[in-house]
Symmetry: C2
Subunit: 356 residues, 2 copies
Amino acid sequence: MTKKVSIKDIAKELELSITTVSFVINGKSEEMGISEATSSKVLELIKKRDYSPNNAARLLRTGKSHTIGLIVEDLGNYFFSNIAKVVDLEASKRGYNVFLSSTDNNPKTAKELIRKMRNSSVDGMIITPTKDLKQELEKLKNDKIPFVLLDRIVPGLSANAVVLDNFKGAFDLTIHLLNNGYQNIGFVTIHSDMSQMTERERGYLAAMESSTKKSADELVLKVKFDDAAETIISSIMSFVKENQDLEALFFSTNYLGVHGIEALKLVAKSMPDDLAVVSFDDNDLFRLFTPSITVASQPINQIAVETIELLLRLIENDVQNGMPINKVLEPELIERQSSIQKPLWEIEQTLKKSFN
Amino acid sequence: MTKKVSIKDIAKELELSITTVSFVINGKSEEMGISEATSSKVLELIKKRDYSPNNAARLLRTGKSHTIGLIVEDLGNYFFSNIAKVVDLEASKRGYNVFLSSTDNNPKTAKELIRKMRNSSVDGMIITPTKDLKQELEKLKNDKIPFVLLDRIVPGLSANAVVLDNFKGAFDLTIHLLNNGYQNIGFVTIHSDMSQMTERERGYLAAMESSTKKSADELVLKVKFDDAAETIISSIMSFVKENQDLEALFFSTNYLGVHGIEALKLVAKSMPDDLAVVSFDDNDLFRLFTPSITVASQPINQIAVETIELLLRLIENDVQNGMPINKVLEPELIERQSSIQKPLWEIEQTLKKSFN
DNA sequence: GTGAAAGCGCTAACAG
DNA sequence: CTGTTAGCGCTTTCAC
């Protein structure tokens, strides 16, 4: 990177003082009573020289970086990558840059990221918390660095947050299955203490309890978040084989749903003939799979917009006065019928029959 | 954000000079012959006070921000979000932060992003170019800001780049269809002058030309990148309806493939019974859809790693000596059979035959 | 209306 | 071995 033109160069070339130029740049010509003539001369040269101020210097002086940090769980995940997309878009509109990174649900990574972003003097952060992050978040509060929790809250920590009503989503999805005549509903989730997961489990259990069927606990399969895909898939396969009386499966996240579909293909169960399938989160696969899959969908756009707006409000009002703000958004139950085509084996049987 | 502890505070508390502390922080104790005792005292206090240097000040002084910019086409897209994930991971390992943003294929947005990232003094950039970006990129070259083009090149611009052999991918995929007995193969792509798209089209046309079938041009459907999903879907539906003799469809990108599946569902064509489908890029849907879909898959991990490594090499060797480096990676043809179940018409015919 | 100058936190000559 | 000091580019107070 060679010499960039600096405010000094501009001032020199115009035989003005740095101050004057600075005022013009920052749109304070009026306020500071700079003459129209001077002002437009400056603006012109700035354009001509393609000058733009050095952010680092500005930050060093003002303490405002016009940058926010966005920490998600996994950029490779449909939900989070789309959240990132919208947050970035909205932030850009408002003149902010975004530092983006994923934790992969690893507390060490998460802490490191928070540290790095603090060093980069972000004006605020959006954080999808992992386990063990309470202390770091409390430090942020102490240091008055605005932040908003995304997707999940941290028990015992009073902080700004935008989350989904996960309990309701899971409850409704389970009721949907029960209403359609499925009773033995398995629940596949990950081991996790994080609120979004525990809430989904609670929702499922509550709905099951309200039905005739008792003790759903044994219908719950928990896998580890960072297990390899193969491991998760084979767990699901075993689970299904060992529970032949299952009538439906409820996957608590999109990636579990994807693994689940793969597992069911491998054990040659088709849906919903052998086993009905529903999942939290929506994606292309669930929508277009045959039979398509009913989901509790998260309003991604709304979540992202509410979050970034809340953060920018905190940043720009400067003070985090009073109570933290908690937004709880509603999931949408998208009911899908397998209306388009019947599973092949069924057709096959029909054909065979017609010739027997 | 309140008072952060600065290097001055550390120095004062230890009754040392700022210089000494700075050397220790930057791991130059040895080089500068700082005593073991002093050095460890400093390190200790740093930990105790949770001190970490202010990046802005450091940047202002050294000109190195330890930040790179990553400009992709669309963060909401499977390919790019996974590229972003890997780039971010590798950059983190090497101590770099990543500014991430999408262009949505809009040249104005792209230019604006480049400008913003330059102001933020990124050490280098990874750019998925849009149209009309040549001038900006040439300025980057002039200013010796290292950058690597990703996914596509800019005609007439000699620059570092990591791209796929798109011609080969498309050629092979088309040949695959031809070899399997499909002749009338439609090609669905977007209007675009960008290399990755023109190359795919060339690959398709070249393969078609080598077959008996002539003039594939009329089998090409082009839609606009920023058309609404519904518009694209209905274009595909019309295309299929108007070309009843189509035997197969080749979608030039993952999102077109997804739209295509949706369109085919709506016109009630099933695959590959009525129409075989292949697509560029892989994703969960193509893998798990029944029948599953053969694809030319991009080695996402490899692309991302090669790109970030090339960029960091450029940054850290400082000079962009000599020729630009162009990496061309191989797509992988993932042939999928609807092996779990044969195409319906085949079964049907077999059955019929056995009774004739 | 405009300018001089201090200083944000840090690095790296240079001086001892 | 350690300290003094200049200055990176910018904003902003105070002076003219």
